[in-house]
Symmetry: C2
Subunit: 327 residues, 2 copies
């Protein structure tokens, strides 16, 4: 018997990268999981992400902006992990309305459904470290200014603050996370617009040269998906975490050059080179970033355990076995 | 010849309280003004607000979310003052989607129209001091944390940060204001859900007792609309103001009790009493608030000139003359 045995859990975006890994973790811990995922083309949803637990979960293919469906789906759930969203950092430069629709309106639909039909459900929202924008002191604490550099990041900030308001005003118990660069198994690998680490891994597997934008010295932290799932579950289990915003990231910063070297070591092959930022990427690049994990460690006891080299090796192994489902 | 002579200016929400007063100021200064206002029932739009300059301005009755119309209307303009929005602080507690639609999507429509069809236009956005939420030190400076207590306030913050992103990323020259409690001529007087000062004035004119929620000791600053219009125009004229966020408020704090006393003095009659906050109002009440005006004074030279008693007397005089158009 674990904390999760028999718990009813809704995961929006549950066929995507973070969502599907979370679902694996929850099912393993004994939860009864329901997934909502719109399976939009070019997003992260992939039914293969549920192998081999496909038959153990209930899957609904609809958008989170479908009010009637969401009103039904939140009912009876103990926890709602809201992970669905538009997550392409660059897309909002051509169309900000998609981000507004999925990340703001969609979040409001989920929260209103909970408020009206299941106000005792506990709600966990996953935003991005991009909500901070450029930072003036490192590591970044949760009370640092939030000046997002793009509409994707801004709509995540808005969604986070929506949850804080519903927590404070209506008692919807909510946790708000700002997640760093994730990598690992079950991320989409068809385009370069989501996580940079997985894209570098694809470049190595394909025999291409890793292309690092800028001078290779920008600092970032990288979070292995397995550690992320543990953090999401640990937070949800911790009463004192509700009403709080947490950074969720890797244990230490690496330069992009160090990252590429470690990827090449993990993959046993490959090479990297520097490249110019595209105009679109340069606009939203916030420079050095790594978070303080003091708060999440203090309140939930979680800390990242997976060494970068180990996490990368597992990621290589997964995609080398399952390439057909991701390329 | 003034700075504004012959300048082409678009004012969204131009039939409302702030908008129409701004239009009077701009027309008087020689600008050629175009108004967009949706004239929604129960909002602030009132065609009488344009008397006696109705024939000197071009009025379009459409919503700012009408992309095709907005794409046309921004063209050829030197300045766009974006004042249209959902401004009822309480409404979002029953329906957050209206705020999202007008304040977030609507703002994105205006900014995208400028970006695509007139990127040299200068853009001025008016948000609210409610973007700060509860504050821990007074007076409040522009770099204070922003933790809005309601969806109205949150969607204003999102709209402000939209403008900052368009300024930084696409060079759309933008000014972002956080305005305190406004009062004065041409505000709607049919319901109590907008400005509190004007509503107290109506209570006096109607022979009712002013009802102050709470203990009467909460501190606020109050900004006379004439001073607000001067500030908006002064900011727009000041190159160094672009890319900046400014507080825009009154010169000093008053308690609500002092406010009521001053209203009674200005009106020459009336009385006040304390009342319990409604649940809806209590939720979004941030406590004491007054802004630092150091930044706007330093960069633009503007400061509020109108004494509270004087501003209130002018407001009484306006409504006593024009009551038929506002009651």
């Amino acid at each position: 018997m674990s904390f999760w045995t028999g718990k009813k859990v809704l995961v929006t975006g549950g066929l995507g990268f973070t969502g599907s890994n979370l679902v694996h973790g929850l099912v393993q811990a004994g939860a009864r999981v329901t997934i909502v995922d719109s399976m939009l083309p070019n997003y992260g949803g992939n039914i293969f992400n549920l192998e081999p637990i496909r038959d153990l979960v209930e899957v609904h293919t609809n958008c989170i902006t479908n009010t009637e469906r969401m009103n039904e789906l939140v009912q009876g759930k103990d926890f709602v992990f809201h992970l669905a969203g538009q997550v392409d950092h660059i897309l909002s430069q051509t169309d900000p309305f998609i981000d507004i629709n999925f990340n703001v309106t969609g979040t409001a639909v989920v929260l209103e459904a909970i408020r009206k039909f299941n106000p005792k459900a506990r709600y966990i929202y996953t935003g991005t470290r991009g909500q901070y924008g450029s930072v003036t002191s490192l590591p970044v604490h949760e009370d640092a200014p939030t000046n997002p550099k793009g509409i994707y990041e801004l709509t995540n900030l808005t969604a986070e603050k929506f949850a804080m308001i519903y927590h404070e005003n209506y008692g919807i118990q909510s946790i708000m996370l700002r997640i760093s660069n994730l990598y690992g198994e079950r991320a989409q690998m068809q385009h370069a617009r989501y996580g940079v680490v997985n894209w570098f891994i694809r470049q190595v597997i394909d025999g291409d040269t890793i292309r690092i934008f800028g001078n290779g010295e920008i600092l970032r932290d990288f979070l292995y998906i397995g550690d992320c799932v543990e953090a999401l579950m640990r937070c949800a289990e911790t009463d004192a975490a509700y009403g709080e915003v947490f950074n969720l990231g890797g244990s230490r910063p690496y330069s992009f050059g160090q990252l590429a070297d470690t990827i090449i070591e993990a993959g046993g092959r490959g090479k990297w080179e520097l490249a110019e930022f595209s105009k679109e990427r340069k606009i939203q690049e916030p420079g050095d970033f790594y978070p303080s994990l003091e708060k999440i460690r203090r309140i939930t006891g979680w800390e990242p355990k997976t060494d970068l080299l180990d996490g990368l090796k597992r990621t290589f192994a997964f995609y080398e076995t399952n390439k057909a489902h991701y390329w």
